[in-house]
Symmetry: C2
Subunit: 120 residues, 2 copies
Amino acid sequence: MFNEIIRNIVDEAAGGVGAVLMGYDGIAIAQFFHPYEGADLQMVAVEYANILKEIRKTAEILEAGAVEEVCIKSQKFHVVIRSVHPDYFVALTLQWDGNFGKGRYLLMREAPRIRKALEL
Amino acid sequence: MFNEIIRNIVDEAAGGVGAVLMGYDGIAIAQFFHPYEGADLQMVAVEYANILKEIRKTAEILEAGAVEEVCIKSQKFHVVIRSVHPDYFVALTLQWDGNFGKGRYLLMREAPRIRKALEL
């Protein structure tokens, strides 16, 4: 179920490299990555969790309310991270020339479905 | 000079709460914050630097190239962070209903000017 949703997000997002549904503790529930040379994508996913933890800490200090979305643009990749549950997030990695807006939209569209499935 | 640029960014961005030009070591060169109750904004700025360090580490693992922009949307605030130099970044905080696109645009517009001034 989760594997299918995650894989569909990567396939639908033009330029999608991979996506992961993960807990803030760094443990993945589901993930799908296209074969990619030059990076240990499992390790990258754990790093995402570290980033989100750092951001949540800052949001707490700022009394900013729950973190909804984080976008990271680098020279080669764009990453969209969306909170789908108090304990879980989805991170989608796109090629830099992928459709970033579509990626954001897909995570927004699928978030309620993932949340619902997590609460079953 | 830097103070003026930073203050202008906050003033021009509709809904701007504050901005800071800071090194990745957490030391601010210039900052401007509107009076804001309920958060130690200086501490928040140092937290931004921690986030960016974490993100740069991930980008390195992902061999993703230099990090250009990070956006964080929470329930109360939107934060745009833009790298302006290998050692420095600007972080702009907006109210959640502020003009996020304008904020991004302002950082993009001012980045080359700030970089030039840093290299003098």
